[in-house]
Symmetry: C2
């Protein structure tokens, strides 16, 4: 609001800084409960630290942390100021979870599967190989009981999680050879973190945890034969298409990775209803924005990659996918075997997935099978 | 916030009703501009009317109007109270657009294709046969320039539109006969509104505009041979599966229908930044909730329909879809021929769709082709 508009409204206003409480008329110190919301606005001012797990200014994922902070500042009328730190600027990227849990930071932004060492159940809120895509997993979280489970898992760490984005289906990766049978995974050195890394190891590959900053050099020098990263937008910026002779395969390992904001629970619980709902709505606005950006940018950058390089688009043979799916089942069984909370979360996830897949055959699958890029 | 929590915080507070402006310290009447947000909160109170195009208490679509009102009330700390009217309660359902445009109501909730009589361009913000699905059209709106065009189209009517939900791919409908070739549409009396109605008329069908309340009786008595409605959740409540011998076909005519909130533009422009951003975030929170509910409920109600009836799930033969697609192209050409704004909107829509479809072949399509409901 510009100052002149503000003056035009011409009503009493309140600075966000402290006002002497004696100024508040007696009959306004309570609030009506007719609509369930407090009829007062606390003028308390908050200054929070948001720590991300992304490199500073990372496309989409870094940008959304800045937007989220801006939106919350706007919606709270300036009462909440959030300073955003890229990975390593306040704490190392993968210490964001601990920093917010302990209260040394207030909010974190990351991917739930980063915290599998804290709780194996966390990965099911991110993405599961051959699991649900963006639309399905958001439905599980919002309308299928998933969010309640996510809150249960994170509550043990004094955190409250929020859905804050999705990457869409990630690309299967860049390979220096064709994958024509499951045997082609034997001896393949591939950068592949998380659960999918365990899956390709069952197929005989060596799963590597190459940091993002070293992937290009390691690919170019043949230290690794293949890598997954994100999708055409991020892959283009990494320059993978400039390395001679590469095959680009669709994904199976992350069919729609949820991103998250997580807030210190003690802090969140202390907030009035208006600020709690503002934080929730900001995260879902972020969710829509992130998925929109990935869908739009990946589409246009795929065209750039194909126009500027000799990269060949391929598809995994059915037999390969079928084997990888079999290994995925084994990997999940192993992951949940000794952790009752993981088993509870995966059971909910899997029941919802089965129902969604059946519905998708009539709808989204049928839709994609009729579309033609003409 | 409970009163005791409120007292515990123990800070100066402000009732939402009028405060004597002399109480506001001089140096708080302005605001810092450092973060782009006003550093003040106006204590002005608003009471708005929201008119929906849905029957009162309509599943999902009626529910979301109530939730949207509740969230905005919460986020504004009770400053905005919104009273929700079902279709016919304040104005007839399809007069919502005019009512908000003129200012007799403040907010409307509907589907953009209802306003094709006002501007033919409106339909492209809802759904286009063989067009984009929920994920793709949200990306066009959020990250592909679609929202700017939507605002341009509605600005002429003194309205500001917001994305407020999506139904997902709608079912193609219930048929009392199998559709084995395009000739089976000849003489078929089908309830099918909008652009898709024109498409099936090109195939020789009679497109009817049967109101929702009369569909069941008209189907049962053979007044119509077929109908589309929404999806299993809403269709189940209509009881279509109880009518003997029905075939249930996947959809092509509404691959992801966007729902909307629209706000009186003069009112919206007069709001301070905090309330404008709150309204925007509430609509995107609504968007996520609606799509989640449709995905979850349609999945579980499809199972109920199949368990409780002899309905047969079918798929349209490729040749039929190919013909319907051809007729769709003609219908769109006719719709945009004499309206430059429609042509501008459709060109943007179609360019984004082409890029998205190419990207989807590697991602979502490949994903759906690997999933198995096992």
């Amino acid at each position: 609001m510009k100052r002149k508009d503000f003056l035009k409204i011409g009503l009493g206003t309140l600075g966000a800084a402290t006002i002497a409480s004696s100024c508040v008329p007696e009959d306004n110190q309570g609030y009506t409960e007719s609509n369930g919301a407090p009829n007062v606005i606390s003028n308390r001012k908050y200054r929070w630290k948001l720590v991300t797990t992304w490199p500073p200014k990372f496309p989409v994922l870094g940008e959304i942390a800045d937007l989220y902070a801006k939106w919350i500042n706007e919606m709270s009328g300036g009462r909440i100021e959030i300073k955003v730190y890229g990975g390593g600027e306040f704490v190392p990227a993968l210490e964001a979870f601990d920093a917010v849990s302990s209260g040394s930071a207030d909010i974190g932004c990351g991917g739930p599967y980063y915290w599998v060492g804290k709780s194996p159940a966390a990965q099911f809120f991110a993405s599961v190989p051959f699991g649900m895509n963006a639309q399905q997993s958001a439905a599980w979280l919002i309308s299928g009981g998933g969010m309640e489970l996510w809150r249960e898992v994170y509550a043990k760490f004094n955190l409250v999680p929020f859905l804050g984005g999705n990457t869409g289906v990630q690309m299967g990766g860049w390979f220096n050879r064709e994958i024509n049978s499951i045997d082609d995974y034997k001896g393949l050195k591939m950068r592949m973190p998380g659960m999918a890394g365990k899956v390709i190891e069952k197929a005989g590959a060596a799963a590597m945890l190459t940091p993002g900053s070293e992937i290009y050099t390691n690919l170019e020098r043949g230290v690794i034969d293949a890598t997954e990263w994100v999708g055409p937008y991020h892959d283009y910026k990494m320059g993978f298409h400039k390395i001679a002779k590469y095959y680009y395969y669709p994904g199976w390992h992350e069919p729609g990775t949820n991103l998250e904001f997580f807030v210190n629970k003690k802090l969140y619980d202390s907030l009035p209803t208006d600020l709690q709902t503002i934080m929730d709505a900001a995260s879902l606005k972020a969710h829509s924005w992130v998925l929109g950006e990935f869908e739009a940018k990946n589409g246009s950058y795929l065209e750039k990659i194909l126009a500027e390089s000799d990269v060949q688009l391929k598809a995994f043979p059915k037999e390969v996918l079928s084997k990888l799916r079999e290994y995925t089942k084994e990997t999940i069984e192993e992951a949940i075997a000794n952790d009752p909370l993981s088993k509870k979360v995966y059971t909910s996830y899997n029941n919802f997935a089965k129902q969604s897949q059946k519905w998708s055959i009539l709808t989204e699958k049928a839709f994609y099978n009729t579309v033609q890029p003409d």
